[in-house]
Symmetry: D2
Subunit: 277 residues, 4 copies
């Protein structure tokens, strides 16, 4: 597995170039960045060289399409998607991710039908470039009632949705925080096949009741109560070999990006050691 | 368009053979029957001859698969589906239909994902035999709250679901009663293409507020308040040429099947005349 | 049906603006143009106004993707496709077409697999914008051996391929010249459903043996030996209501575009009259 | 990986019950049998007990559908497929396989279109029961010209076809004999993901030029020239954990099934040892 960073949790990171530098400096092997932006600023060769010279690969890009609202919004994102996919593929990245909110203001069944079609189209486009699409189920309890109607938030629901989408290149973005807030177990991970997982996020949770863990209240790996050693060990056991990227959604920290990257490194060291990895 | 009968509304019809005889006797050209049962009792040649000698074709068969509950239930119906599809195809029938309840005890979004996958599999199997699958949206208001969670019941929701299923041989079962209880217009029909409609049901509604029209309170065409002339004219205008089958879901009538078939004929005469057909 | 023009057969037409003017002037109701180009030059509102003020609609756009060679070529076209589809949709066009060469230098079965996947992706993208994709089978005999291996050229093969692609928005571009060079009949058209036809081309053939009719040797409707009255009558009978566009692939004529448009009009008048349309 | 047996190579094995007994007796953990036959003869519980008491699982069942000829043939197999899939699933088997002949008497591109649609339908049906479908590419050179037109036989062609089929549960049946006769390398295996492989066959080849290795001239693992140690090591390296089943297509041997099972065991011991497994 590759240790990965996103900019979430590193404070005021200026841009993806700084993120790449920090990742490299603190022993990370992957970064979740905007591949298209890199290519636009450096060209394909320049961006490849930038990544290579820092010994990092791209863990995943974000899905640049609004599939949660109107058809017009959705259509407007598709050109960007083809460009982002081409850029990602040119830099060797084979993963693109999006999150699934656990509730919606739309009528839930109808929105599921709309979302199924839209995500299938995104998956087909990504597949043309050899890229897989990871869907992130979102566990924090407070979000389940943050919009009018419950949508989906469990692992099983998400797997069933992936079956409904029906494309070979769609899988999970598996985040330890959502694993924890869904009160899933090691056995739930071990029941998966590695190829069902497109990307992994790692975060820790504060010592509050599970039902009170806030989506924006995440903490650094190793500093909280989630069994991240067990989490990583199970992923390793089923053969997952991709990136495991930290994504600390939390109030803005005051420390410098360097201090926060160092703190992240210490956290990764701790939990990877706990996993015997 | 072909005038069609189902056994619903004809009282104590003994079997499909009697339905075929009644249809023939009262000038109907199509019957909605169990094709597999006919083939099992008469053989393919015998069943063909039975239909031909009565000048009727099969309008549609019902989908013999429980896609509304567990995966086990669903799986158990697939063998029957292949047999029913083969029988229907052997008798020249190219339509199979199922209805969509407007509410569900399952979590709506999750059930939509499950249903999408299951209906797609059914559609693929039917497609192997050249048969289309019609989905019937169900309008009566009281059913929308008859189970815990709202599912889908409008024309647009159903069209969007058909898009999500994504198979070329899936379309609508369009029932005048659901058109009426959804308070749709002639223009809504005219906005459809004929190929989006797999099968049509025709029924009338009593003179009660729309929101109080009960699913099991349907009446004979021409005896109620629905503009069935406009309904048929619009279907004709967009080029629909298939069967239009009566399906009177209502308390058991005491009249004989012959009397009820005669009454149905009178109703069809009236509304087809109103449509200038 | 709408009478339509492409620039093929009109000599030195300067641009789509001139084509629109000529179409309007000589009583045509549709033009096959580059929707994206129009939008780029006039804006969406300007392009709409241009079409509207000339009383023409867009019959179809061409598929701006090279699906016949490498994966790289294919990928490079997808951004253009999203842009072209958005432009076409904004101008009310719901049809996009591509032709299928009857032979290939690639191994035929392998190329069919590659082409199936690529065309499915194109269809999904077009479907996101409400646009259908028409596949044009190509009949002239000399092309069947113009590359190393036979591919597909018959109506039935193309329908079977459309089934293999499996997307609801894929159908035929039906060209009278390929109907003729495949030696198909009126009955073959009448066996189709209107919704299987996305777009129609109309051309005539010189009085040479069918097997010697060259792809680039087409002549104006009504000036040759194809039963275009029967062709149009059959299309009308099955309910086709879209555009019928002339596409005279032939050596460059010396007459002016105006003269050629007038000649085209005379041809359309003749064959539509022969079809009682 | 599980050591597996098929009846091919064991001489006059009477039935699957004897195959199960032999497998158990000689240290094999998997058998490729007719799951439906077992269930029909023993009931689900009896068949489960039979397998369990012999410490074997089912490696794979064969696809009981003729997808290589007419649509009628194909349709007739689908009922059997639903039954076979239900039986296999009830016994814990999640794999079903079919082979792909490298040539065809049909026009190759058209047959590819037909086969794509048919295999997709089979995959959908199998998927309803949680079963994957493995496609076996077939390498022996003499078969490439055994029918009129070349079809597909390489690994890459088969992977591209799997993409064209587009279902998540379709992968490869990877046979060492076809790997060898295609002159593929260890690196070609290492470039695959484990989830792309549904099932594995293992056979050895005699010491003749590769182009002269006959499909029906296979020999026991470890007795020939294929680098089966490298083959197994590469599969292990990419994480393949399923069955590896011997399938010796060869003239009928005169030894008893017991002698041949013992010989097979010796061969497996040798090549698994060579692979350090």
């Amino acid at each position: 597995m590759l240790r990965g960073l996103t900019s979430a949790g590193l404070g005021k990171v200026e841009n993806d170039e700084q993120l790449i530098k920090l990742a490299s400096q603190y022993g990370f092997q992957a970064v979740d960045v905007d591949a298209l932006g890199l290519v636009e600023r450096h060209g394909v060769e320049g961006a490849r060289e930038l990544l290579k010279s820092h010994n990092v690969v791209i863990g995943s890009i974000g899905l640049p399409v609004d599939w949660r609202n109107t058809d017009e919004n959705f259509q407007q994102g598709l050109t960007k998607l083809t460009q982002a996919a081409a850029a990602a593929a040119s830099l060797g990245c084979t993963s693109c991710c999006t999150y699934v909110l656990p509730a919606t203001d739309y009528k839930a069944a109808h929105f599921m039908a709309l979302a199924t079609r839209r995500i299938r189209i995104c998956a087909q486009i990504l597949g043309a470039y050899g890229i897989r699409l990871g869907l992130e189920f979102v566990g924090p309890h407070h979000l389940r009632t943050a919009w009018k109607n419950p949508f989906i938030w469990t692992l099983q629901e998400t797997l069933d949705w992936i079956d409904a989408i029906g494309e070979p290149n769609v899988g999970l973005l598996f985040d330890s925080y959502h694993w924890y807030t869904n009160e899933l177990t090691i056995a739930d991970i071990e029941a998966l096949r590695a190829d069902q997982i497109v990307h992994v996020h790692i975060n820790d949770a504060p010592d509050v009741p599970v039902s009170e863990a806030m989506d924006g209240g995440r903490i650094y790996p190793g500093e909280g109560v989630i069994d991240l050693g067990g989490f990583l060990r199970a992923l390793h056991k089923i053969g997952y070999q991709g990136a495991v990227s930290q994504e600390i959604l939390a109030p803005a920290p005051t420390d410098s990006p360097e201090q926060l990257a160092q703190r992240s490194k210490a956290g990764f060291d701790k939990v990877f050691q706990a996993a015997d990895l």
